[in-house]
């Protein structure tokens, strides 16, 4: 059987008639997703839409075949209970917990059905049946929601034997602000600002995905090429700032202060390059539906290239020290290993997946905008440890700088914004963007009047938090900060 049998194939950032989404029996749906994931597919999204969206309450699955570059969708009417996919497809585990929490629909047979965000009044956050290991010498360590630094809140439960961690359970939801619901409930003028603050460190990533959704729903053709290039520059600057910051923080977590100190500063240099374009260090206002909010003249681009050249030398010099320092390498290597098969089973995305040997990158697998014309080579390593997750960032820094340089030297055409029309009626669209943490996936539906009727957001952190849990197994509890930083996942991106 073909790995995409039963699925309706569609393209990233291209709207389709929502009535065209195949609706099958729940058992066929379940088997189709399990089979296509077994055949190399990956579950990008699994979500529920209430009756008013496409005529009947549905569970919708979106499966990506990364190597073939194909996306497929399928749906079913699950009723109030349906046989859980998780026992046959581990990637569904978090999605099914989300569906259960949001809509009360029960995936029967789910091994671990409890809230992921504690959004219902009946659930008290942090109060749940945590996974526990019994034994006279086993002890439990609880951390958070308030952590020891300037960090977002989340709760971690470690089951330990001495220093050894048997299991880490991550319990989130503290950052829940109700974004998905508000996309429909509050005026349209707020939407872009929700996207920009969904995960503030991924302002450009989420704003780009949202812009793609709006543009696809309006079905008005291409974004101006100059805007595409500027968006690409902004997205790569965001990657540079965060990767640089992470490398500095990793150095800090093993007590290697030179790189920590240098990178802390260089990260700011990249943020200031973004501010050169739009006045804001995080790219607020840079990406808008229809193009970009700001243009860049020759002078500005020259300034960018000058600063980029300086920052390149600084960041590579700062990071190089890590690999040459034995005390750093002995802490990085073989710490927090995530096996390739685990990444495949759980659908891990982004640098964490690439560090374990998976060539998985939206920019090359499902390119949109500028990435259709200018390819970014995918870097991948095999060891899957903290070292690999650090070194992959180093490789991606180089690729991003090269990409920005090429774009800035040959920025096409005139005009950075096109007025987009009203969204079409009864449409469905998925927009995927490779943010610095990995695959950002937004899905939207419009109703019979062209109004937005459903909006689904999947931050890469949604897939990857479980990866951190598993990377901690068999590690020392003192390795947690290091492992955590090597993933550097978003709390608010997950909590929405």
């Amino acid at each position: 059987m073909s790995p995409t049998a039963g699925l309706l194939l569609f393209r990233n950032c291209l709207a389709m008639d929502s009535q065209g989404i195949p609706c099958v029996g729940i058992e066929t749906f379940r088997q189709c997703i399990i089979d296509s994931v077994k055949d190399g597919g990956r579950l990008c999204a699994l979500f529920y839409v209430p009756e008013q969206v496409i005529g009947s309450p549905r569970i919708i699955g979106i499966v990506a075949q990364d190597e073939a570059g194909s996306l497929g969708v399928i749906s079913a009417e699950p009723g109030m209970t349906f046989p859980a996919l998780t026992p046959g497809c581990q990637q569904a585990h978090w999605f099914e917990r989300e569906i259960h929490e949001q809509y009360g629909v029960v995936p029967e047979g789910h091994p671990w059905l409890k809230p992921i965000r504690f959004v219902n009044g009946s659930d008290t956050i942090g109060v749940t049946d945590f996974f526990k290991i019994e034994g006279s010498e086993v002890h439990e360590v609880a951390v958070g929601p308030v952590h020891a630094g300037i960090i977002e809140p989340g709760h971690f439960r470690f089951q330990c034997h001495g220093e050894n961690v048997y299991h880490l359970e991550i319990s989130l939801g503290y950052q829940h602000r109700g974004v998905e619901k508000a996309m429909l409930a509050f005026p349209e003028k707020r939407r872009l600002h929700y996207m920009e603050t969904l995960a503030g460190d991924t302002t450009v990533g989420h704003a780009t995905a949202y812009a793609h959704i709006c543009e696809a729903l309006a079905q008005g053709g291409f974004t101006p090429p100059r805007a595409m290039a500027l968006r690409g520059i902004a997205l790569e600057l965001e990657r540079l700032a965060n990767h640089t910051g992470d490398l500095g923080a990793l150095a800090g977590d093993v007590g290697f202060l030179p790189t920590a100190s240098f990178c802390g500063r260089i990260r700011g240099d990249f943020l200031n390059m973004t501010a050169l374009f739009c006045g804001n260090r995080f790219g607020r206002g840079m990406v808008v539906p229809g193009g970009t909010g700001y243009d860049a003249d020759r002078e500005r681009l020259e300034e960018l290239l000058l600063r980029l050249g300086r920052a390149e030398k600084d960041v590579l010099g700062a990071v190089e020290l890590l690999w040459e320092t034995p005390s750093v390498m002995s802490r990085f290597e073989n710490t927090g290993k995530l096996a390739l098969q685990t990444c495949i089973d759980l659908g891990i995305v982004g640098p964490a997946a690439r560090a374990s040997g998976l060539h998985r990158d939206v920019r090359s697998d499902f390119p949109s905008d500028i990435y259709r014309f200018n390819h970014v080579p995918v870097s991948a390593l095999e060891s899957g440890d903290v070292f690999a997750r650090a070194f992959i960032r180093r490789l991606e820094i180089q690729q991003s700088i090269k990409f920005i340089r090429e774009q800035a030297q040959s920025l096409p055409g005139n005009g950075v914004k096109k007025e987009i029309g009203n969204p079409g009626k009864g449409l469905f669209v998925v927009a995927m963007v490779e943010g610095w943490r990995g695959e950002i996936c937004h899905a939207a539906f419009t109703g019979s009047g062209g109004e937005l009727s459903h909006y689904k957001i999947i931050d890469p952190s949604f897939h990857n938090w479980i990866g951190l849990s598993l990377a901690m197994r068999g590690q020392q509890i003192s390795d947690f900060p290091l492992c955590n930083k090597s993933f550097n996942l978003s709390y608010c991106g997950h909590d929405l």
Binding site: G149, I150, Q175, A182, R267, G279, L321
Partner: protein, 252 residues
């Protein structure tokens, strides 16, 4: 070892001279908004309609609430008469919530804390930061103050891990219901006298999340705030400026 030293020399000293020298800001930086009510057409409410957070009001003449402002400039794009603009002025912090509402009067920059508390905290201020729904932008720009560029430590200010070691609370985020208890517990664990600093539009008013049932529109009303730092997020230099004025280290 020699390589580390060579790299250290190559990376140079990077600490900025602020507050002795003015900050270097990008030309498109959006600082203190300017409200020119004389240019405003009384019949027009385009800016009020465009503002995503309700920061603008025309009920009593044109006014702009810095505490709600996202500095997105959506208002300036729709204003037909140029009554609204953004300046490069980075000094946005205020001691009073009402002081953030601009309606033609001179903006009163943050003043120093009282003499008595300044005697206790003025030379060594330890802050416990709590993120309660913040998007990690305000948090990132607070973190950045501890880098070599801003070097917060030289002013005697430090972020600490335990509320028991802290003199005050620095809050970011719209205060989600799910963080309300943890925030209160952290606040209560800080010994008195203590100060509270609200950083960013979310902490001051709820920001983009204003009136969401999942949030409390920023700092709960029974936690008294000593310093408000507007912005979405505020530029690190805006936060630093506010802190230094609060400590009485900048007067003008």
């Amino acid at each position: 070892m020699l390589k580390i030293i060579a790299e250290r020399i190559r990376q140079k000293k990077r600490t900025i001279a602020y507050p002795k020298a003015p900050p270097v800001l990008p030309d498109r930086f959006r600082g203190m908004p300017r409200v020119d009510a004389s240019k405003c057409d009384k019949a027009c409410d385009a800016c009020v309609v465009a503002c995503p957070t309700g920061a603008l009001s025309k009920t009593d003449g044109l006014s702009l609430d810095l505490g709600k402002c996202l500095f997105c400039a959506d208002c300036t794009k729709v204003c037909p008469s140029g009554a609204l603009s953004f300046s490069q002025d980075h000094c946005l912090a205020s001691r009073l919530r009402q002081g953030l509402v601009l309606s033609g009067q001179e903006f009163e920059k943050a003043t120093a804390m009282g003499e008595e508390i300044k005697r206790i905290l003025g030379r060594s201020l330890k802050l416990r930061q709590v993120c309660a729904g913040g998007c990690n932008a305000c948090e990132a720009d607070l973190n950045v103050l501890t880098t070599v560029v801003f070097d917060l430590g030289r002013f005697g200010i430090q972020f600490v891990a335990s509320p028991r070691h802290a003199d005050g609370l620095c809050l970011t985020g719209p205060v989600t219901k799910n963080m309300a208890l943890a925030l209160r517990k952290t606040y209560e664990a800080i010994s008195s006298p203590k100060i509270v600093i609200a950083v960013g539009a979310c902490a001051i008013s709820g920001g983009p999340y204003i009136d969401h049932e999942e949030t409390l529109n920023g700092v709960p009303s029974d936690i008294p705030v000593d310093l408000f730092v507007p912005g979405c997020p505020p530029h690190p230099i805006t936060i630093l400026d506010g802190l230094l004025r609060f400590l009485g280290k900048i007067h003008h």
